[in-house]
Every structure is written in structure tokens, then in C-alpha cells.
Symmetry: none
Subunit: 240 residues, 2 copies
Amino acid sequence: MKEKTASILVVDDEERIRKLLKMYLEREQYRIDEAEDGSIALQMALEKDYDLILLDLMLPGMDGETVCEKLRESKATPVIMLTAKGEEANRVQGFEVGTDDYIVKPFSPREVVLRVKALLRRSSKTKFLETETTTKNVIVFPHLTIDHDAHRVKVDQHEVSLTPKEYELLYYLAQNPDKVFSREQLLKDVWNYEFFGDLRTVDTHVKRLREKLNKVSEEAAEMIVTVWGVGYKIEADSAT
Amino acid sequence: MKEKTASILVVDDEERIRKLLKMYLEREQYRIDEAEDGSIALQMALEKDYDLILLDLMLPGMDGETVCEKLRESKATPVIMLTAKGEEANRVQGFEVGTDDYIVKPFSPREVVLRVKALLRRSSKTKFLETETTTKNVIVFPHLTIDHDAHRVKVDQHEVSLTPKEYELLYYLAQNPDKVFSREQLLKDVWNYEFFGDLRTVDTHVKRLREKLNKVSEEAAEMIVTVWGVGYKIEADSAT
DNA sequence: GTATTTTTTAAAGAAATTGTTTAAAATAAG
DNA sequence: CTTATTTTAAACAATTTCTTTAAAAAATAC
């Protein structure tokens, strides 16, 4: 099948959020349109066949729920809703308006990209049933295995329990083996967009991560490599 | 070689119900057609050989019973009837017009998927391969056994009596050992589609579940594992 | 219709995670 | 070899998440 880059409509009244999402999604080769007003967004979504819509709940013009509802009258475009934390975030979000997924603000860019990819994969899968390959999200290294669906990390068959941030960090590095990330970049991608903390925070997490891995296997711990003056990376071939 | 997936016709006048069913069934690799009108549904069912039909009782055009009756004149397609709560649900009349099973609204998505699988398995022994999650009738863990047919849970040979929700929750988790579910997802799948309550509801049920299991065996209780920042899972190998 | 059980909500207390700070160790460079 | 810089380590404070408890609401049985 011919690969076509998906086009995505990003709807949020805050420009910095739109730009942030746009930047990260364009990096993944998606084509991005923006809207800051609900009713305009609806118009756009009706005119053009987007592959996915990222939709803020609270919007001028028309709120996200209503946009979604009205859109559903004629289209089945997948929708990911963005909700601010207080905004009944700890309730089950209704699929009654036809939302496919939702993300709570402030999110980490990484999270959004993952969810977008997952939803696009799901929705294209239903379109072409032949693609029945059960996409298992498992990353395997010589001593380390990360099963993302089960949210489980194993070092030499031993399960290692990681905190959320530790897991996120490891998973992010593992997704791009051998690629070095600066502390700034890791903070930007893995942490949420409202966090502007100390760069040493990354060090601390790396330290704790190594510690936990090292309890099982020294080789596994040594996979997380320090690149002096630059940052950190995961080394795929830790031929120690 | 391509594997054949079952095709299902979903008939309901409410769009959100159709979409809901479609979403959950497509997730199980079934192919879904929709109809909102009774007589149109009948036409479709006669033209195409569906493997199963999910049929709402109350329908515009022609009610579910009549659809089923007329269909039976020429076809034996398995039918699951959907009935609203008050809607003469207690009358097992449904079976007289050739219904194979019936589900009372509001149902939990999980329930429908289980019933559909069960009926498909019954109606065609070898025609279809089991989809992703194999529905077993007895699930056995080191200290815990769940006999779904008997609706009975045993911890180290001792029967533990659970409330309906407690049982549903445990059974759902047990069907996907080691897989982590968010509270959100548990509420969506295990609770009925009209429930939009608090995420903490899950915590309370987990707590009581652990409590009951713990009365018999500490190991059994510890099988229900909290994954911080993510959700809950059942651990198959509780080799603590 | 009342009583009982089950489910849900709410709120306080406990536990775990995260971020900051400080000091020590390691590395690179002169 | 010495110094400056960077990274690691460890301890503490702040925050977040989870558990527990109790009480209200809903469903079910009597």
C-alpha cells in the first residue's frame, strides 16, 4: 500500500499549544492545519477529509464536545480530545460524543505523538482489514526488553519495576537506539510542556534508572551511556 | 493465506449505540455493517450472509421480533437481541422467534463481546479462528481459579463470594494477565455504557476485591498489582 | 413498601514519586 | 599534576497518586 502522510487538524485557542503540537507532529511527517475557534474548526473538518483531529475541549465559538457531535453527523474522522486537568479529567470521558481518545493537559509532546500514531494505526486498520498483524509494541535489546502494551520492563527475564517517569525516559531512549539526546531535549519531549525545571533532574532519573537495571544486570545498566558534554543515549549493541 | 473474519450486522436506531458496538467489535477483528431501520436490516440480512446479527428490539420500520421471524423463514443466521430494560426483557419470549441470546441495555461493552464470541463459537465449530483474546471458561492461576460457567471464584480451594461488579472486574483483569488497564479503560469496558462516574470507583472495587481474596490467601490478593500512574493489572506469576 | 445488599462518592491519611539541592567523584584540558 | 568542568550520588522537600474509611445513593430482595 502506498504511504500517504496523514493530515491532522489541530484545534486549540492557545497559540503556543497549537505551535507546539504542530512542531512535534510535523516532525513525524504529518501535515498540520490549525484552528483556534470551534465553529471554524467544524467548518474546516467538514470541508476537508482529515485523518485525525486534535480538539481542545474548551474553545471560543463552539466547545469541543459540540464540534465533535456535529462532525459525527456526517463524518467519522477520529478525534482526540484535549482536556485541562480540572475539566472533569478524573471522570470517564464520554464516547457519547464520539471521541476516540483524550489527553489531559499539560501533556508531554511525546505522549501526544504516541497516541496520534496509535489512533491512526487503529483507524487505518479498520479500513483495511488485511493488515491483521497484531502490532506488538515490544522493543528488544540483548539484556533488556520493553513491552509497552503491558508497560513492563524485563532485564534478563527479571521484571524491573520502574516509576512512571523512569519508564517514560527509558522507553523514549529505547525508541531511538544510539541516538544521543541532550538533557534539554529530554526535558522537552518526555516531561510535560509546563515543566521548566533543572537539567539535573534528568541526571537523577538516569541515575535511578541505572541503579534499578544494575541490580539485575550490569550490562543492562551500561546500555544507558553518558556522552560527555552532550547528553545520554541508549546503546543497542552493548557488546561488553 | 488470509484468515476469514466473521461479519456482523448491527441494528439499532441510536447511532451512538451502533458506533459503540462497532468500535468494540472491530477491535476484535470483526467486520461490521450497520442498519438503523428494521426493514432495511432485514433486506441486508437476506442479501448478505452475516455470521451474526445484533438486533435491537425496538426499531423504526419493523421491530426486532418481526425482523427475526421473517429472517428465519429462509436463514438461520445467529441473532442476539438487544432489549431496553423495561422493554419486556423479563419475557423470555425472544427465544420463541428464533433469538439465540439476548442482552439487556444498558450493557457493558465487555459483555457484548463475550456473548458474541460465545455465540459465534457455538454456531460454527471450526469456521473461525479465535480472535485476539481467547475466551476461556476456566482461568487458573497459582492461587486463584475462576470458573466462568459456574460463576465461581476459588482461592486455594476455598470459594470466595464476590458481588457482581467485583466478579466482573476480576474476570476482566484475569482474562488479560499482566496487561495493565487504566481506570478509565476499566470503567469503559467493565461498566455499562451509561456510567460516567468517578475513576476512584475502580479503586474501591479493587480494594474490596483484595480484601476478600486476602481473607483466604495473601498471595492471591497480591496478584492484583497497582501500576503507579497507570492503573491495575493481574500478575500471573506472583512469585513474590 | 421496607430492609438489605451493593455500588458510588467524598475526604482524609498513607505511600510513592518527583524535583531540588548539595557534595563527591570522574573526566577533560592545560 | 593541577585545575576547571561535568557528571554522579545522596538526602531532603514537595508533589502526586493511591488506599482506606465512612457515608450517601442506588439497586435488589423480602
